[in-house]
Subunit: 201 residues, 2 copies
């Protein structure tokens, strides 16, 4: 049941650069890219995500993200493109997933529900519709983890409270699922938070 | 009514680099980026798009796209990453929108239904659900146009057979809609073609 007067959950997104797998299944730290920062900031702001976290254990990479964020929040970027600056107002940087969880817990007073995503996830996954209903009908925070490279390692997936199924193409027509993480974040946020006012229920 | 034995429409996507607007409303040609090619090829292949077209009047840019596509289809890319190569098998290059339409008409024997997209479109737009039903229940081809830069010019939008509404965030919670074209393509293809097997109707 949806309580009209209760606020929906705060949704957080984390783009995880470690621990993730490479194409050989090895655990690596991927490089943060400027384009991921921009695309995720814009998508997150559009879907009213509370904070989009860039997660990397590499201090140099965290400094790089902070410099880019600073440029857009307070520097020349703010004057050049205030719309982009607005997206960057909701960007966070963290050393690891646990530190994101601690930060949210500290701010909100309650541990977030942690949701794992991956191209191959099917077992034990909840449906997008069930997750959407939970966001609309609960309070507290939801943290959605996205892995770069070849995806989050099993230990991270196992530690999640919930898993979302992999994004499938049209049933029976295709067997290919190799989206960029930028596309996956956009699709999943739209499935969980997108406005359906134009569509019949 | 959906005819089980009739094939659904072939969906084509065109990423238009001209004629589009810049931030001042002037008509320009944007530069093709390597990342747009990769992201759209992967998203298009995942959603079983017939062909993803890169549209630019600049010959040098078309040559660049063809070189990149060749690298992945037949060159070192094919050996390095056959999954990526598969996505590139469905990439096309064209000088302008009319030439994409001619090409589809020639191949399929029938002019495609041309669909315009834009962040601000609301008037005269059909719903995503109606467009989804049309794809599932019709034959022939559907060509969805996406503008780079600040979007397709009015003359192009006016010439479209159908318009899709702008992607809105959660109703009543937000007023920001500045997605990257990569995110917009992913979200719109998921709304029109995404598998809903996990979700109740």
């Amino acid at each position: 049941m949806i309580h009209e007067d209760a606020p929906p959950m705060h949704v957080h997104v984390a783009l995880v650069h470690h621990p993730v797998r490479n194409r050989h299944g090895e655990v690596i730290a991927t490089a943060v890219t400027n384009l991921d920062i921009h695309d995720l900031a814009r998508t997150g702001r559009t879907y009213d995500v509370h904070t989009t976290w860039m997660v990397t254990p590499l201090e140099q990479q965290r400094s790089l993200v902070e410099r880019i964020v600073g440029h857009w929040r307070k520097g020349e970027g703010q004057t050049y493109n205030p719309i982009r600056a607005e997206a960057f107002a909701r960007l966070g940087v963290a050393e690891n997933i646990e530190s994101v969880i601690e930060n949210i817990t500290e701010e909100s007073g309650k541990r977030p529900l942690v949701v794992g995503t991956g191209a191959a996830v099917q077992e034990n996954a909840i449906t997008y519709e069930a997750c959407r209903r939970q966001i609309a009908s609960s309070t507290g925070s939801l943290l959605i983890l996205f892995g770069t490279g070849w995806g989050l390692i099993d230990e991270v997936m196992d530690s999640c409270d919930l898993l979302l199924p992999g994004i499938e193409a049209v049933a029976g027509r295709n067997g290919y699922n190799h989206l960029s993480v930028r596309a996956a974040v956009a699709i999943i946020l739209d499935r969980l938070l997108g406005n359906r006012v134009h569509d019949p229920p």
